[in-house]
Subunit: 379 residues, 2 copies
Amino acid sequence: MAKLLFIAKEKAPGESRVAGSPDTVKKLVAAGLEVVVEADAGSQSRIPDAEFEKAGATIGTAADAARADVVLKVRRPDAEEAAGYKSGAIVIAIMDPYGHNDLIADLGSKGLTTFAMELMPRITRAQSMDVLSSQANLAGYQAVIDAAAAFDRAMPMMMTAAGTVPAAKVFVMGAGVAGLQAIATAKRLGAAVSATDVRPASKEQVASLGGKFIAVEDEEFKAAETAGGYAKEMSKEYQAKQAALVADHIAKQDIVITTALIPGRPAPRLVTADMIASMRPGSILVDLAVERGGNVEGAVAGEVVDKNGVRIIGYNNVPGRIAASASLLYAKNLLTFLQTMIKDGDIAINFDDELVKATALTHGGKVIHPNFGGGTPAP
Amino acid sequence: MAKLLFIAKEKAPGESRVAGSPDTVKKLVAAGLEVVVEADAGSQSRIPDAEFEKAGATIGTAADAARADVVLKVRRPDAEEAAGYKSGAIVIAIMDPYGHNDLIADLGSKGLTTFAMELMPRITRAQSMDVLSSQANLAGYQAVIDAAAAFDRAMPMMMTAAGTVPAAKVFVMGAGVAGLQAIATAKRLGAAVSATDVRPASKEQVASLGGKFIAVEDEEFKAAETAGGYAKEMSKEYQAKQAALVADHIAKQDIVITTALIPGRPAPRLVTADMIASMRPGSILVDLAVERGGNVEGAVAGEVVDKNGVRIIGYNNVPGRIAASASLLYAKNLLTFLQTMIKDGDIAINFDDELVKATALTHGGKVIHPNFGGGTPAP
């Protein structure tokens, strides 16, 4: 009998994404699996049930999860959902395990084999499974769109018969995947874009997108810049000079977008209340790290905060604000990972595979990931 | 004694613009006028009172309007405001006179000399006074930003490790000032842009911005295209063929932006309920003509209407959504017009000037504009 794969409708409020697409369903069916999609699962990602059906899925209810050998989700299942899965089922999602060792242990004790997609190693082979990249890329795009929609001026310079509207000044803090896409999108819209990052080596990437890199370019910086990649931490003296430069720069910006996240730790504070007070009324900050404590002092998750006319946008789940695109890419990330386990319609997990080692949280009734209470913690 | 010019704080709900800027105040003061700005007038356009003061204005209250020789506003004063102005005062605003002959007559009977900026003739000399252009340009920009913010996918094509996000298909109906800026902005964001207009000659403008012109290009079209400018009306047969082509095209679009306005008449209906029903859920329509009855069937002024997952955005006062830029340009339009009347710190209206003839509604206690009940109607 074919293995049954279940794609759940997300229950978390505000979660508009779905863990499958017509494209991935078609490929899973072709690989020999029976696919059941919970009714209405894709409705907020612009995928009607009929399109999943056309791709070869059956439309079911939440109760069908009980028969599933594999459950695909966006978010970690809550206790009620997990109680409905059969022992031995594989559950793949963005598990958000940091700080939730107890919840992960619960999933283990139910006999579930769970995988956290966000722990995928950043190696070439796993690039197409990298949910942090696929979702951060869209979040960086949407951050600029959200800023532009709230902003009370045009982004591009406009030369009109009635005078010139100056280009908006956009400053992106953190030049990872989200930051680079934010730079690219703000440039597209015609803004004057600058960016910074703790890695001097990112200067070249920022410049290649047309952004100006903001850094104290002393001898220490130049040495670190050519070292490439994740350079050693800069000296305290350098950090102080850089902080002063950034503070001075922020006072002149119209829009600041912050994107700095450190896995498993609270987001670093990049923008202080004093810096916000230095900005002109009408300016906009977008804090993409707000769900992790925020890069911006005073940012509130799920809210737009007004500080003397400067607004701090702290939307939750920014990839979910662009759900149709986010779901397509997330579904593809899941599919590519699953394909490493599917053979002749059956599913076999190779616990020696580095992808499995990095992402498997629970198996055989217990937590197996060393970072979340399983075995020996990684050194 | 210097002439007193008063810049009012707008009372209309949702009107965030202001009829002056630090730049225009400075020039008015330099021209010998005394300038009073109502407190808080610029607060929604990012101009604090202090900036007006620094430019040479005094900050006053609504009561100061009673002393004013010239009142600058964004919107037509209501009865209460007008009652506060002295007889003989000049009032310049976007007067919205069509269909409001009685209200215009009231302003006349109060002894006010009123000018409607939106009636400025479209001649080279008056280009820098053209409020329809300056505001429509920003509305066209903001329409795309509003659409992108509501849209559940990315606008540009994105080639990622997890697959390709296709470019959004944006269709702009009406290639006037707003339409052309909408085309340009959607192109900036990386969308696949098409446009149409009743004037075949606009094909070249659309193409020059990178848009695809949607038209039945038969012999009749080609003849009209080369005729240039406002061509004669196309045949009924042509119109029917074109309507069928457009209906077919709309069914394939992600975003449709409509911009068709006819001065003094209701907006033409461009998109029917059937066409909306043909669009995929998640698609977006933005109706920039919604305050004039709407180009889109079912659009509601001031609301976002959902029709089976297709949303129709009908925001009021779209230039006011980008108030800081809109106010700067509008203030400049007013200044340039006023400068034609100011001489040695005094104000003299030349009623033979074609700009005055086109825009003056009331003077000497009565309506003088032929189109709104004054003198002989224009033929």
